[in-house]
Amino acid sequence: MRDRPNLLNDKAEEIRRSIFKMICDGGGGHIPASLSIVEILVALYYEVLNVTPATICDPGRDRFILSKGHACVTLYAVLADLGFFDKSALDTFGRRGSILGGHPDMLKIPGVEASTGALGHGLPFGAGIAMAAKMDNRDFKVFVVMGDGECQEGSVWEAAMFAAQHRLDNLCVIIDYNRLQAMDELDKIVSVSPLADKWRAFGWQVKEADGHNIKKLVDLCTALPFQPKKPSMIIANTIKGKGVSFMENEPIWHYRMPNGQEMRVACNELGIDPK
């Protein structure tokens, strides 16, 4: 039998295939932004988060908020694989009657904690949950995955100050630092660097990691808080479009569908039977 890290790497590859099929069949979606966070979600959902399909309403469950809601297909693939809802729903993505749309809806999808899509909303919402946990003396944790471009939103920094002020050490943000936004590189539009220093200056304890190394992500996420009485931040260095060579680090693919030839190349690289 193979060891756990390899199994999780295999799981990540399986999720990548699922993402690609879902978006191509569903007729549209954010492929590269979704591929970018695969290992982060695998690390969290398979090794870290204390939540199961049976505990989605348990007040003591860990919370996961995908603030970059446009990468929702990754979350859908993971939740379906873990049995939060039936896998057959993945085949309906983006279609009439489906519970799964281009941004996640917490009223429709079991296991989804927040209806995100507009950027800069996940962190204040997560900070509110973390604050409620403190008020009620509950020891669950709140994880928020944000995009790097999302850090251009002012509400992110309002919440950053708030979380530090209230010592929300039960809150952990993971930034998907792939250095690209819809139109181009962040550094060519409005740079967020030095990203780690910014968050440190706002009172957060910051660590950096390879965002595609599941073991490293798990090690960090199970060693929280990084410092008592401070919110934690993991800057996950990632590759937008990871796993599809011609999409990697190419801004043009942010919201674009591959043509027939491109589809064949991508399927080959991801190990999908092209049918």
């Binding site: 007040p59 917490m106 009223l107 904690e113 927040a114 209806s115 899509g117 507009a118 800069g120 909303h121 962190l123 204040p124 919402f125 997560g126 900070a127 509110g128 949950i129 973390a130 604050m131 409620a132 946990a133 008020m135 009620d136 002012g154 509400s155 309002e158 919440a159 100050m161 708030f162």
Partner: protein, 310 residues
Amino acid sequence: MRNAYIDALYELAGKDERVLALVADNGAIVYDKFRAAYPGRFINFGIAEANMIGVAAGLASCGKVPFTYTIASFLTMRAFEQIRNDVCMQRMNVKLVGIGAGFVYSNLGATHHATIDMSIMRALPGMTVFSPSGPLEARKITKEAARIDGPVYIRLSVGGSPEIYEADYEFETGKGVILRDGPETVDAAIFTTGGIITEVLKAHGELRHMGINARVVNVHTIKPIDKDIIIASAAKTRVVITVEEHSIIGGLGSAVAEVIAENGIAARFKRIGLQGVFAGGYGTYDDMKEMNGLSANAIVSETIDCVNMK
């Protein structure tokens, strides 16, 4: 109105530990009693309205009942997307309490006036919109807001607003209150809401001296609107006037117009309020009413014109 709200909130907090008071750098002194009694349940967010609403939604997702409070214009507009997405789309039990309805912050200028807040709050799916007339109603509405499981917006004038009710009355969400009525026949039905009711009541008295009998209806709930009282009053008088310290676009006047139009009622109809403009001028609150066509005199002359055109 403000003090009535805070007293009611204090009482609610005593009975229900889920109730929280959230503010954005305001409410000095008036919240002292609340803060002293429930220090862990009062949160000042500083000057960060969007974050206050986002955090409130997160708190509500864990069963808390946050009453957020700040100047109405900042609350409803600075944090609008948070109200729409985090609160309404997710059906969170968050209360929004805006202070400084209309142009009551007279000489602070249009940045501090809330004159389209009813329009935008009314447009939000699932939002209940209250506009109390004075202290007694503000108190009843605060208690009612806690009872409602879902988003509520309460539009408050300032402290020191006069009481318009002489006696206690039965409050019901979405049910207008007839404050004045003609002895037998009624020449016009005037629908109004919020602090400006005092001017409407003055106008009612003057009109009566002139031989014009008007029904005055206090519409304390802008959403859901009281269709029955609008239909019944319009059918009775055929002259319908709305008075609001707010833009005539999207607020009370629009809500009443929708009911009239959708029910096939033929009535002479006039919306008194800001005619699609920001409130102009500086001075006292009374000065502002005069300069912006919302004094009792202005309401009298508009009503006479409408009645005579009949």
